[in-house]
Every structure is written in structure tokens, then in C-alpha cells.
Amino acid sequence: MTFGTNGTILRVDLTAGTVATESFDDAFYRRYPGGKALAAYHLLGELRPGGDPLGPENVLILATGLLTGAPISTATRFNAIARSPLTGGFGESEAGGYWGPELKMAGLDAIIVTGRSPDPVYLAVRDGTAQIRDARHLWGQDPLAVQAAIREELGDRLVRVLQIGRAGERGVRYAMLMNELRHYNGRTGMGAVMGSKSLRAVAVRGSRRYIDLAHDPATLAELGKRLAKAVPGHPQAWDLRTKGTPGLTDAMNAGGILPTRNFRQGAFERVDEISYATYLGLRSGTRSCYACAVRCKPETAFSDRYTVTDTYDGPEYEAIAGFGSDCAIGDLQAVARANELCNELGLDVISAAGTIAFAMECFEHGLIGPGDTDGVDLRFGNADAVLELIPRIADRSGFGEVLAQGSRRAAEAIGGDAPSFAMHVKGQELPMHEPRGKVGVGLGYATNEAGADHLVGFHDPLFVNPESVPFRSVADLGITEPVGVLDLGQRKVGIWYTGERWNSAEKVLGLCFFGPAPRSLIQVADVVTAVRAATGWDVSTEELLEVGERAVNMARVFNVREGFTRADDRLPDRLHAPLENGPLAGTAIARDDFETALTNLYRLKGWDPVTGAPTAARLRALGLEWTADGTTAGGGVAAGGGAGVAAGGVPGHG
């Protein structure tokens, strides 16, 4: 008997055209409760090292968090995990919205997709049953039309549709997944993996309620009500609800950490044209994810120099800075249109913008010219060039085929100095957060198994003033001493280690980065209460941190067996050179300081400081000794299925 989960996952083999369910017991869930942990467990066990990310052997896992679907604000997230076609390592991306909660209500905690269908298909899931259905007529269609067609075919306008766009169908290495058109698993190319399986969509409908899965429904419901009421009275939650992420742009620029001209600069001379005030002139409303009172999702609609509808989400801050300052485009209307195009075509906005900014710098330096770009004048600031390029990337046509591979591969193809302009870690483009102004974020970019990601740890400015709301909220995590944003000493490393485990736990529990402390209103004790009420487990904060750490270590083991080492935990050289302008002009991350911090972080994590691999002792401490043979984990494909899992000492695989 499990509480807080369904105890059941769905397996879909698209080569064989079969579906089946599989169950796990409570002891298994306590170790791998959901999301990143549950998915990493299966990925390690079922994908051979060296498997082609875009081949039928890749294993795509869509996993809800433990609390996903609970009546608690921000408990909406699910993870898409597979080997990444962008990085070659652990691929992961999470999204909120409605699909994850619906899967939980359909009686499933996760879906594992293997193989490749000979023809395009979609999966229709309803209350624990699933059908593989013909999608030949949907292939190549816009997401809006696909969603409507699936709802009509299934005779249910409330079915929740997760799907890829054209970019995913055509194998763009940073293609994304979207649910309900507005919520995106953007990073690491999970859309390309789904497309490689000829799977256009996964439609889900369920009739359960999460509260009926809970061990102590009354406590869970009471917590949810209290948190919802608290949103308007909590400063940071109020900010997310009122301004959302577009409210960040001005502050980033004022602080000199608004990535500008492919991260050469930290301040943008045309910031007023992409500012929060300008955004307010285009905003048509805000939306929410399932049962979330924070309601932070922006939407825009206008018809002026460009036309944008409110069919898709955003632009969020990442798109505003990515297509705005980082491509030197001082026109929020053009930025909003670029964002809409990426969403409609199924491209990750961060990697699309980062790859285009890279190409602009190559163009500026004469490494490529109009003869290479199909005549597109790729100067920084040319908005129409960006809008012309995005569909070509999605279709992999002309110069778009070069950029569809991501900046690292495009740089190798272009040659010369181009690799020095590619702002990526492990092949994944940098998010719009400047590590030269928040060095802990740089540690996260460098070490994260999925490549550069801004959501894997805490952001340095929150830990400067011990009297501030965010700082006081993390005392329960043991953070009590403040530290400066540019400090890379032991105290910063310690805060970063705590933050990574906490944020990883969020990815396991299905909580949004914008929910728990230090970012917003859900206190550390509230998270513990929620897990206890959902499951009946007597968990502590420390156990939740360990759950987060276990998930990180599984991702690291995956990368180690794919050949990743400490040498891959590096920042682009540009971040070790001075920023060109703004309040932080001249600031660089000292290479020696960074390497020392990395060594110190590895020691805290129990990883070998030379190789970057988890030590056997740390794996044993986390109950992950079954991963230690370095080739396969937990049985799976190579070791012969569930028997291997049981032999490895993992409880309760049924």
C-alpha cells in the first residue's frame, strides 16, 4: 500500500506497439519518491551506456513528482528525462501546467516510453489504461490544431495534451515539449527524443483526486488552504503574482547582470524598450498552473509592428533577455513574436536565443557572412533576421540546419574562433543569468549534469543580508551566515551544496522553484508537513535533502558512464574574462578561485576531486551501491529486468 502516489507506472513500447503497467511498493517510493529520482532510477537501469539519444533505444520517462497534483500551490511539476541529444548526458527538463496533475489523477506516477513507432502515433491515457493511436494526420500540424483534433477524437474537451512541435518532429537538438500549449519542458532536447520515437502527443484524462491518495487528507487540505490565502500577503509571492518574471529585467540591468550581446556585456543601452514597464503595455493577462494561487504566468496579445496572440505563454524573463538584450534587440514586440514562434514550433527559447546570439557574434567577426546564412543579415540587433531564422531552425533548412544542432556543434562546423563564442556548458546554452555577478549560479552551470541551468541551486543575492525575507526563510536548512555575491569561499560552496539538494528535492516532489523558500512563501517546515501528510512517512528536512542528493548522484553516475569527467564541469572562457560594461564592468570569475571552489564542492558531495565521479562510499551512503559497477544500474536492459533491481538491494520492485 502506498500513500501519496499511485504506486503504478505505465510502460509503452512503441516498436512492439504494447502498453503495460508496473507497480512498486512504499519502500521503493520512499527512496525514489517521484520526478527526477524516479525517472533517473529507470533511466540508469534501462538505457545502455552509449545509446543513441535519437535512436529507438533511448528511454523517455515522464515522471510526476511525489506531490504533483496535491492541492498545494506550485505542486504541479513533472520531469521529462532521457539521454539528451544536445549534451549526450543526463537530459532533464521539468514543467508545470496541468498535464502532470492529470497523469496522477489518471492513476499513474510516470510513463516510460521506449522504441520507435513505424508511423506517427499519439498515446491516449485514461484512468490507468492507454491506447496507441494513429497520428499520421497530426504530424506537421500546429500545436493548437493538434490539441483540438485530439480532444475531438477522444470526445473530451478536458483531456490534457502534452506534445511536441515541428522542431521535435524534425529532431532539432533543443526541441521542447509543451502541455496545454502554455507550459514547457524546454531544456536538453526532450522534444527531439519524443519526436525520434514518432510520438507526437500524450493525451491524459483522469478521474481520481490527489487528496484521496493522501495518508492524512485533512492536514494536506488545510496546508493548501493556508498557503493559498497567504499569497497576497507574502512579499515574494505577491511579486510573482503581480509582476511575474518580466519584472526581473530592469533589476538585472541595474545590477549589471543582464546578459547582453552574447554575454559580452552586463547592461543593455536599450533596456527601456524591453523593460517591465514596456511589457505591461503588451500584457493581456496572467494565468496559473493547476491549483496554484501564485498565478505567475504572463501572456501577451497585440497587433502593431508585429502580431502576437495569447495562444502560448510569455514572454517570460528568459525570452525577454535571450532575444532582447543578448541579441541586442531593443524591441519587446519583436521579442514577444520570437517567443511565440519558438513556442508554436516547439523550440526551447533559451537555447534558440543563445544559439542565435552565438551566430550573430560569428557574423560580426566575419566567420560567417550572408553567403552562409541564406542571405540573412545576422547583425546584432536585427530583429527581422531572428524572426526569419527561427522557422528555418525548426525545419532544419539552409543555415537553420547548422543552428538546429545547438551552439557547440554549430561552432565546430563554423570553425576558427567560433567555439570561443559558444556560450554553453556540456553543449547546453546558458540561461539569462550572469555568473560574473552571481558566482554560485556559475558553480551550478558548470556542475549540473544536464548542462547550464539556473534552477539547480540558490541564487547568490538572496544570501547577502541576514535580515532579508529570503535569508531568514532558509535557517531551517542550516544556512545562517551571509555571504557576498562574488565570494567563492567555503561558505558559498556550503550554501550552494545545500541549495542544490533542496532544489533537487523540489524536482523529486514536483514543487515549482517559485514555491518553496527561499524564492517564495512555502516554508521548509511546510514542505515537510506536506510530505508527511501525503505519505505517512516520518520524514525530516534532512531526509528530503538526502532524497535530493540521491537524485543528483544518479544523474552524475549516468554522466560518468557516458564518459563525462571533471573537465566537463567548466564554464565558457568568456566568464573568466572581464565584463565589458555596466556596474560590474571589469569583473571576471578568477579561474583559480573557481577551480578551488569546485574541488571544495566535490569534497562536500563526496565526489572524487580529480575525476568528478561519486565515490563508492557516498553512493553506499545514499543507497546507490547498485549503480557502482559503472556500466548498468539496477538491472534493466543489460542485467535482465527487475531481478537485477532486487539483487542490487532496492526494495519493493514488484
Partner: protein, 78 residues
């Protein structure tokens, strides 16, 4: 003086305003102005006067200035 309260700092304005005018009779210490605004100093990570970053402790402002105040800056959704 033009005042901009970035991020959650506008939460502390009784009318929840992000932009407004504040009349200053004479030059004043920035800390005094912030106290009058009711924004907790601990929540302010960055102050800029006429778009130049200033030290919260030392800066002085006049009625013709533009003042931008920002809280600690965290992450944005993708």
C-alpha cells in the same frame, strides 16, 4: 523625485505602486527617504540614483533625481 520600486519592494508601498513621484523639499539622505517610503532596508539589494548604482549608506538625493530600488535578484522561469 521619480521613484521605482522593483520586484517585491512595491509590496511595501501602501498602494502597491511600482512607480510614483515623491516630493522632496530639500536634499536628503537616501536612508531617510527609504524610511519614509516604508521599505525595509534589509530587502533592498541595490539602489541606483539617476541609473548609477550608489551605496545605500552614503547616498544623498534631491527632488530632481530618479531613484530605482531593487530587491535581491533571483531566477526567472524559462
Amino acid at each position: 523625485m521619480k521613484v521605482h520600486l522593483g520586484g517585491h519592494l512595491a509590496f511595501y508601498d501602501p498602494a502597491k505602486r511600482s512607480w510614483f513621484e515623491l516630493h522632496l523639499e530639500e536634499e536628503a539622505a537616501l536612508t531617510d527617504v527609504i524610511r519614509e517610503l516604508g521599505v525595509p532596508e534589509a530587502e533592498i539589494a541595490l539602489a541606483a540614483v539617476n541609473r548609477t548604482v550608489v551605496s545605500l549608506a552614503d547616498a544623498r538625493v534631491t527632488d530632481t533625481d530618479r531613484l530605482d530600488l531593487y530587491p535581491p535578484i533571483s531566477g526567472g522561469a524559462g
